[in-house]
Amino acid sequence: MKNKFNLLILITFLCFCFIIFYKGLNNSSTYSPKISNKKNIPIFEAKDFNSDIYFKSVNIFEEDIFYIVNIWASWCVPCRAEHPLLMELSKNQSIKLIGLNYKDSLNNAKNFINKFGNPYSQILIDSDGTLSVEFGAYGVPETFLVNKNKQIIKKFVGPIDKKAIEEIKLIIK
C-alpha cells in the first residue's frame, strides 16, 4: 500500500515536470510585450521633424479619427521593407499616420523620406528613444494603432506586412 502511494506520488511529480518542460519547449524564448488592455496614449511633447516647433500630444492627436504611430529610422533595414505598405495605407482618408523618427540623423532621415516618399501627416523626432519608451516600444520598427478615444488598441512589433495592413483596414472600417 505504502509502495503504491510512493509510486503514485513519483508518477504525479514526473507528469508535473513533463507538463512544465513540454509547455516550456513550445513557448518562444524571446519575450515580446503585448497589449492586453486598451492603453491611453502617453502625454508628451516632441519636436517636429520639419520645423523646430514642439508639439503636445493633445494637439497631434486632436482629430476624431484613427491614428497609426509608426516608429522608424533611416538606418533600420526592415523599415524600408514596410515603407511601401505605409505609403499605401496613407491613401486611406480615415486614418492618419504619425511617424516617430528613432535615434536618427536628421539628414539621413530626410534623404530617406525624399527617396521613398512620405506617408506621414506628421513626423516627430525621438532623438534619445525615450518617446518610444513612453509608447511601450523596445525596438524599431514598431507600429501602434490608436482609436478615436486616443487609446492604443493594437501593437505590431517588427515591420508590418500585408496581413497587418488588412487587419488595420478591418478595424478602422
Binding site: 524564448s29 524571446t30 519575450y31 515580446s32 510585450p33 503585448k34 492603453k39 535615434k103 534619445d128 528613444g129 525615450t130 518610444s132 519608451v133 513612453e134 509608447f135 511601450g136 523596445y138 525596438g139 524599431v140
Partner: protein, 122 residues
C-alpha cells in the same frame, strides 16, 4: 572676514550635501537598472546592456529619479509599459501565485515527510 568665513562654510556644506544626494541618486539608479530586464538582449539587465533600448531606459530612469519618483513608482511605470516580465523581481499576483507558493509547498511537503520518517524511526 567673519562673514566671508561663514559664506565659505555654507558653500562647502551645500556642495557636500548636494554631492551626497547625487551619490544617493546614482545608487538608487544602479539598483533599479540592475532589477530591469533588457528586452532586446534578454539574458542581461539594463544595467549591463549596451543596447539602444537599454540606453533609453537608463535615460528614463534617470529622468524619473530627478522627478522624485519613488523606486516602486518607477517599476510601476515600466510594468505598465512592458508588463511584469521587465522586472526581475516578480510581484505576487494571480499569474505568479505558483511561482511564489510552490517552493513553500515543496518545503512543507518535504518537512512532513522528514517528520513522519523520524516519528516512524522512534
Amino acid at each position: 572676514m567673519k562673514i566671508l568665513k561663514l559664506f565659505i562654510i555654507v558653500i562647502l556644506f551645500m556642495g557636500f550635501s548636494h554631492s551626497k544626494s547625487d551619490e544617493k541618486n546614482i545608487e538608487l539608479k544602479n539598483k533599479i537598472l540592475k532589477n530591469i530586464r533588457c528586452l532586446v538582449c534578454q539574458g542581461q539587465s539594463v544595467y549591463d546592456s549596451e543596447s539602444e533600448f537599454a540606453s533609453s531606459i537608463k535615460l528614463i530612469v534617470d529622468r524619473k529619479i530627478n522627478e522624485n519618483l519613488r523606486e516602486e513608482q518607477i517599476y510601476e511605470f515600466l510594468r505598465e509599459k512592458y508588463g511584469d516580465w521587465i522586472i526581475y523581481d516578480p510581484q505576487l499576483n494571480k499569474n505568479t501565485y505558483i511561482l511564489w507558493l510552490l517552493p513553500l509547498l515543496l518545503f512543507l511537503f518535504g518537512g512532513v515527510i522528514i517528520f513522519k520518517k523520524l516519528n516512524n524511526q522512534k
